[in-house]
Symmetry: C3
Subunit: 160 residues, 3 copies
């Protein structure tokens, strides 16, 4: 089984493309040539001011498996979310909704300790859901929705 | 236990109703008289240009159980999603976000093989989440969000 | 492990705050001073006419554990959703999408019996998903999205 998400570290090259003939829609994909670029999903899709963020895992970029340390894995998954959000021109504080899937609820406090550091005091609505086993044995899979309200993303698109 | 979704095959009659006094909201329901029409959910709800697609299962219409073949089940569930999306005047390529729940991750590649055929090269943001057992022993439950950007759905509603 | 949601009964004081410098965004939080107010999520986040509702549990406010009766728990979780929705100036009928996570599908009919009473005949798109064990041993975790179409929430915010 291949992994769902390659864009698991901040700064990883991401590919942003607008759909042909559609000035309002952007697909955030893993960089061309990577395994993830061949899988049938985008890391994020932006329509207008709203960004739909795919389920991200926190895999070690070398082994493509979860790291031994739980907080390291939480950082990897949130760095991946951050990379996708920023590739679309959003910030973490634009996230309005987050869902965390987690097969082992004992990781709840560790996840929260890491999670808090990614926001400036206001938090998205969130569900923390006990799941079945996740792809690659990941401890967390995180998805979300972000909305820009300060400056329309359309302005940015129009300026290209 | 009754099934969540009857609209599991493309072409199945679906019922589209606008809420009283609300020109902007449409409910996509299973056809009147079916078991699913009695259950407390809509297959989809459209507000403006956004369609919220319910969790769909891929059940055999005769047995109301999953078919023996995993790819057949994946096609049934995606045909159901397609029927709901099209009943609201959208296409599969309008989907911006999809979540797949799956109790057995060994079905990941089979699902992807079928899934790719429903899109024209650009894919929604997606989460593929290991779940607990699903209703009726289904292998997949799929939900999503679609956004029309090419032509406002409001125009269509207004033209009625 | 602490609970995800304290706002589990209707009428519980909720705190609504607008983000600094952002007239369009509102955070619905548990009342200051409660345990839930220290956890890194909002019960709901409103942007424009859309409200993103966090995962709610149905815990007994005294014990912070699920009540013995399954329908009592379903009422607690939906009362919590209702409190969050109403704190943002929405109604239950504004919900367009709901996801229910449930570790034991045998609770499906009991949940539906209670759920039907919270709506006026039209139902949101819904997924009822078999999950892993939930926080605090809850039988249900429920999240959703609501959209106001009758009267813009912006009007309400602007009138303050």
């Amino acid at each position: 089984m291949r992994t769902t998400i390659m864009a698991i570290v901040a700064g990883l090259a991401l590919c942003v493309t607008a759909a042909a003939g559609d000035g309002q829609r952007e697909y955030i994909s893993a960089a061309a040539g990577t395994d993830a670029a061949k899988l049938p999903f985008s890391n994020g899709v932006r329509v207008g001011n709203t960004l739909y963020v795919a389920g991200h895992l926190g895999l070690d970029p070398k082994t493509q498996m979860p790291p031994a340390d739980v907080e390291a894995e939480a950082r990897l998954v949130l760095d991946g979310i951050k990379a996708t959000v920023e590739a679309a021109g959003f910030t973490m504080d634009d996230l309005v909704s987050v869902t965390v899937f987690c097969p082992d609820l004992a990781q709840y406090d560790a996840f929260n300790r890491v999670y808090i550091g990614y926001f400036n005091g206001k938090f998205p609505a969130r569900a923390f859901v006990g799941s079945g086993p996740l792809i690659r044995g990941a401890r967390f899979e995180v998805l979300g929705t972000a909305v820009r309200t300060q400056a329309p993303a359309e302005d940015r698109a129009a300026a290209r």
